[in-house]
Assembly symmetry: C2
Homo-oligomer: 221 residues x 2
């Protein structure tokens, strides 16, 4: 059974509304941008960023946990963990480098969101390049490992006494700006047909009761 046939079989378990919703959401999904969060101590922050990724159509979120393994706050993520692909880095000695290597090997430029001497204000950031946006903790910011290897620095305007935004706020502001401009550009930012098919199968399995079991039966049949 090829993947298209598999999807047809799986879709028999889904309502027409559900199938339509997958189409609608996938029409906005992108891998032109991705997001990486580093060493967030409070897991509700990472979960809130994950929810932002879903809202803005970012398919992949990279979570670096050098100190504490990341645990999802389900009430904050609001189910986004099903629809956003989370890539975790917590097993190596230098998980940040591990994440950077993977992201660079996939052809992304690394963008650090932090006040820095060479930074660009958000509205002036060039959205045509494939970019991975890195966010650090509010307290410590991003590590030197990220800052030393970043290709670009983006700064969000701030006009008050408070020197930083909450991380999920930073991520939302960046994503809203770059995604809105990306969609007005000529960039081919959408998922490929193959990627769309993969996500449809994945999401169908996650949406169906005993989905994994049914998938196995279909693959074995």
């Amino acid at each position: 059974m090829n993947k298209k046939e598999l999807l047809v079989e799986l879709q028999r378990f889904l309502s027409p509304e559900r199938i339509q919703k997958f189409d609608a959401v996938l029409a906005h999904r992108t891998r032109h941008f991705t997001v990486a969060v580093e060493n967030l101590f409070q897991s509700h922050n990472a979960s809130a960023v994950m929810r932002n990724c879903d809202c803005f159509g970012i398919q992949d979120l990279h979570v670096i946990a050098n100190h504490n393994q990341y645990e999802l706050s389900k009430d904050v993520a609001m189910g986004a963990e099903k629809w956003v692909d989370m890539h975790s880095y917590y097993e190596k000695e230098n998980n940040t480098q591990d994440c950077i290597d993977k992201i660079k090997s996939q052809g992304f430029q690394m963008v650090a969101t932090t006040p820095h001497t060479n930074d660009v204000f958000l509205p002036d950031f060039d959205v045509t390049k494939r970019s991975a946006f890195f966010f650090g903790t509010e307290r410590d910011g991003l590590s030197d490992i990220v800052l030393d290897q970043a290709d670009a620095f983006v700064r969000i305007p701030m006009y008050g006494f408070t020197e930083s935004y909450n991380i999920s706020v930073s991520a939302a502001l960046v994503l809203h700006d770059v995604v809105t401009r990306l969609k007005k550009s000529n960039v081919n930012w959408r998922l490929s047909e193959e990627e769309v098919l993969d996500k449809k199968v994945d999401w169908a399995v996650k949406s169906i009761r005993s989905g994994e079991q049914i998938l196995k039966q279909l693959l074995d049949s």
Copy 2:
């Protein structure tokens, strides 16, 4: 002693950097927009909104608490409570109406941020009118009391499965968009000289150790 003389006396207790910071922040402060939050159960959400107000130069935040009195999360507000004027509504039978009456009497149009049939997408919202942006809980949204009396509805684009943003994310997205566009407009959005002077005195008193006591001595002298 008039207010200008009072400020000169108070500034003797402040560093030049502090005095300069007040000027820099006040150059971005506005009462062209204001924010109201309704019935937030988690006070860290209201504190995060307060911090957003500070970051985007919004001088006044209205906090409606019909069920539970609002307590500030100091670690989330990050000191913003000193610099943003918080107006609380929690003593009346209908605190929401109390807040609406006050805001309307000050000449603001009421803008509900919620999905609704007559809403405008955020980038199309007219920033030239003085506006109060109302935000409700993630769970229940805004009350009918707000929705029935709102002059306009604004919707933030969303492309995923998750049906809502966290409230501080919503507030940040709205404020970032409208404040950025306001500053490019011809609207006279800044505080008046009188308002600037008032805030300088207020902030000086809050910044000086035993500020209240020193203020009393100066006023009595």
